[in-house]
């Protein structure tokens, strides 16, 4: 994905791909999706050993990244995860580790070792159930005698069923705050949702008067910078997963067009098909380009990082639909069958398009970033 990858980064990405192909290829993902198999904890400790979850964690807690550029390194892993539709709350766990690293208390930081090693997983509950992704959508935290009491509902929490911890965005006196909650805190329940994506599962997180101590706060109440940073990272990593999935879906379709014959020729020799493929490949290349620009800007904390991250999500979100539908069209009937992997990609992409903000939400955010 990144034109300037170092040898270390290349090795990191190649190792990731080899691991996925041998341990959790799409055929396995499919069996898990069909509930014929469950992911065992071994998958997550193995990816912990590979370093996928340690990228944003300081060295003293077992963390580190191959190039010292954690956003770019995480982007490389995300691309491979997207290509092979990997399960699990990996974006959430990475973002949670970043939140604790940047703003966690001593007690919270003690968990970083487990997060880095894949022994504990986390999800970020940011959005509300109706598509708002603002810093404190859907949950309010009232000040109690010794801490806070949280009430409300979060929507579209990715793989909440696998999370041991939740990073919950909530409003305190109308100001954004982040809370770090264990999955067994009284009053918190994970309510599974049925959904389009078969490779991730989504849930609502319902909080009924969940009492937490003041030490559950991550960072400062009203400290917008941390939440903004986390949103940018979550956005670009989701985009990178989408770009991986889009690329693989397109490659699959190109291969089909090269091999499938009709009227005595391969269908990829018909101009009507070639031109569609050219347009789809333009969407793929544009997606790569804007994702690369956004990952780099977020890594460098460039002044335009926020707008590039949002522009990437807006563009790739739209491109995901165009490419998915175009690839289904070019596959013809075979692409409409359950046995074909195409729909696994189509379902995942349509869902990732919404996670951490759909294109319309990010476009409005771009206007606000510019003061319009």
């Amino acid at each position: 994905m990144l034109p300037g990858v170092t040898a270390d980064q290349k090795l990191f990405a190649e190792t990731a791909e080899r691991f996925i192909r041998s341990t959790c290829p799409v055929s396995t993902v499919r069996r898990v999706a069909q509930r014929e198999e469950e992911l065992d904890g071994g998958y997550f400790t193995e990816i912990g050993e590979l370093g996928w979850l340690a990228l944003f964690v300081p060295e003293e807690h077992g963390g580190g990244s191959p190039s010292g550029q954690p956003v770019l390194d995480a982007g490389l892993i995300a691309e491979q995860r997207g290509r092979y539709l990997q399960p699990g709350p990996i974006v959430g766990s990475n973002v949670a580790a970043l939140a604790i690293t940047l703003g966690g208390t001593g007690e919270q930081r003690a968990l970083l070792d487990d997060l880095a090693g894949g022994k504990a997983l986390a999800a970020w509950a940011l959005g509300d159930p109706v598509g708002g992704w603002g810093a404190s959508a859907g949950v309010e935290a009232r000040r109690g005698e010794t801490g806070f009491v949280l009430s409300g509902t979060k929507g579209l929490v990715q793989d909440a069923h696998l999370a041991d911890w939740f990073l919950v965005s909530a409003a305190v006196d109308g100001r954004p705050a982040l809370f770090w909650l264990p999955d067994d805190v009284p009053g918190l329940s994970v309510e599974p949702l049925a959904g389009l994506d078969l490779t991730h599962r989504y849930a609502e997180l319902v909080l009924r008067d969940v009492a937490v101590p003041a030490s559950a706060v991550v960072g400062q109440i009203g400290g917008d910078d941390l939440g903004e940073r986390l949103l940018q990272v979550a956005t670009v990593l989701t985009v990178a997963e989408m770009v991986g999935a889009i690329s693989e879906l397109f490659a699959m379709t190109l291969e089909h067009a090269r091999n499938r014959a009709a009227f005595g020729r391969v269908i990829g020799s018909f101009q009507a098909v070639k031109h569609q493929l050219a347009d789809l490949s333009l969407a793929v290349e544009c997606s790569h380009a804007i994702a690369t620009g956004a990952l780099t800007a977020v890594q460098e904390r460039a002044p335009d990082a926020a707008e590039l991250a949002s522009a990437a999500k807006a563009f790739v979100g739209d491109a995901a639909i165009d490419v998915s539908q175009g690839c289904l069209q070019l596959h013809g009937g075979i692409g409409y069958t359950w046995e074909h992997d195409l729909h696994l990609y189509l379902r995942r992409l349509a869902t990732d398009r919404v996670v951490f903000g759909d294109p319309a939400w990010h476009r409005e955010r771009i206007c606000r970033l510019h003061g319009l």
């Binding site: 101009q271 070639k274 493929l277 804007i290 522009a311 990010h362 510019h370």
Partner: protein, 466 residues
């Protein structure tokens, strides 16, 4: 890549781009890297540095010399040059203005600052691109000649092509005049019957018993021909062989007997382009450029220069900071809709288009510079502009609503939206249509089979053509 415009800079990537130029053409032809390389050598005498002093000392001295000459000979410029919009009569150059600009160019030529990287034996200065850059930097604050689109075609496309393929005699006659502003040249390339299918031109050049050539036919989409002196004309000299093999180039005087030039009125009301009719126009064999029947080789050299020389009107301008679609925000404020959620979505969509094109160009450039990339990747940038610019133009119209279709006669700002809409598909068509880019991408990047061709091996006169 597309940002390189100076002739001297064109050559570094010329070899890599020859394949990209091919992707714009309909048909394959034998690779002509030899022609492109010879263009590179002749067009950029980078090694012909003055013998005295190292390059750095030479450049500093040169800069002082340029400064002094500019201060003594040219008028300082008061404001930034206005951005030229396509459309309206203002874009057209009057004969008086052309005469003034030729005079200004002559002053630069006589001062020794025209064709800085061009060979000295043909009237250039034989210096390096670094010298040219010094002159460009220093002259920014002065009024220099602007011979319009045909002036750019002369120095960026026709001149380098003639340097690459013209005879010594031809080069000695015409190149100095091109540099001095005395001769303005245009390309006589497309025809009413041959656009994307460039090798399908049917303008005929027939040899006379005396050894001259008689040209009959018509050309179209010639930028600025109404004030040009010569055209580089692609003509069919042998219709009995397959179409790529029967073509030859000629330098044709446009002011002579038998040539009729008519402006084409474009949908935006301006007449930047012309059509030309040739009725028994006689040129001598000395005006031939390249070998008889070898016109396609020359054409491909020319397409490389054309791509590199690009029309600066079509290059997006960046002022540094990336503003939020400034034209559309201004428009939304004019019509009081900056708070309307639909309008805000449209503005952000346009901004995302701007960002994506910019990121794609950077991405393609990075990959291309790495050397390992497919040389045809530039087609992605072209197709992105060709497919996204129309979307952006339509967004302007949508935001403007009634203000985009009717305005008070004095309100030039309001009419800009309509003009942008009319010009929105320029890059979808000019310089290789979207369809040609899609052919190029699918065949040369994605590796899909070529279209069955009905015209490659049959004589041109047996083909169906317009």
């Amino acid at each position: 890549m597309s940002g390189q415009t100076a002739d001297g800079q064109a050559t570094d990537s010329a070899a890599a781009d020859s394949a990209a130029a091919d992707s714009m053409a309909t048909d394959s032809a034998a690779a002509d890297s030899a022609a492109v390389n010879s263009a590179a050598t002749d067009g950029r005498p980078a090694d012909r540095r003055p013998a005295d002093g190292g390059p750095a000392r030479d450049l500093d001295a040169y800069r002082r010399e340029v400064r002094a000459w500019l201060a003594a000979n040219l008028e300082p410029r008061n404001d930034d040059a206005p951005v030229r919009l396509r459309g309206g009569d203002a874009a057209n150059l009057s004969p008086e203005r052309v005469a003034q600009q030729r005079e200004l160019q002559r002053r630069v030529y006589e001062g020794g600052y025209a064709g800085i990287t061009w060979p000295a034996e043909f009237g250039g200065q034989g210096l390096t691109p670094a010298h040219e850059e010094v002159f460009a930097q220093e002259s920014r604050g002065y009024v220099v000649a602007d011979l319009g689109i045909a002036g750019l075609t002369t120095t960026r496309v026709c001149g380098p092509t003639i340097l690459a393929h013209g005879t010594d005699e031809f080069r000695r006659t015409h190149i100095p005049r091109m540099l001095s502003g005395e001769e303005i040249w245009v390309q006589l390339f497309s025809e009413p019957g041959a656009g994307s299918d460039l090798a399908g031109v049917s303008t005929r050049a027939t040899r006379t018993d005396a050894g001259d050539w008689v040209i009959n036919g018509s050309k179209v989409w010639t930028s600025g021909a109404y004030y040009a002196d010569y055209g580089l004309c692609l003509a069919r000299t042998d219709p009995t062989v397959p179409k790529h093999r029967g073509l030859t180039w000629f330098g044709v005087p446009l002011t002579g007997e038998g040539v009729t030039i008519r402006p084409i009125r474009e949908i935006n009301g301006s007449s930047e382009f012309c059509e030309e009719f040739f009725d028994d126009v006689v040129v001598s064999d000395a005006d031939r450029i390249g070998a008889v029947g070898d016109g396609w080789t020359v054409a491909r050299t020319m397409m490389v220069f054309e791509r590199l020389g690009g029309d600066p009107d079509e290059t997006p301008r960046h002022s540094g900071a990336r503003e939020l679609a400034p034209d559309l925000v201004a428009l939304a404020r004019r019509v009081g809709r900056q708070g309307d959620p639909v309008t805000r979505q449209l503005i952000a969509r346009a901004h995302v288009i701007d960002l994506v094109k910019e990121q794609l160009d950077a991405y393609v450039a990075t990959l291309t510079e790495s050397g390992a990339a497919n040389p045809n990747l530039g087609s992605y940038s072209k197709l992105a502009a060709g497919t996204l610019n129309p979307v952006r133009a339509a967004i302007g119209l949508e935001i403007a609503a009634t203000a985009g279709v009717a305005w008070h006669p004095q309100d030039t700002e309001a009419s800009t939206t309509a003009l942008n809409y009319l010009n929105g598909r320029i890059l979808s068509i000019a310089g290789g249509t979207n369809e040609m880019q899609r052919n190029g991408i699918s065949e040369r990047i994605l590796g899909l089979p070529r279209e069955p061709a009905h015209d490659l091996d049959r004589p041109f006169n047996e083909l169906r053509h317009n």
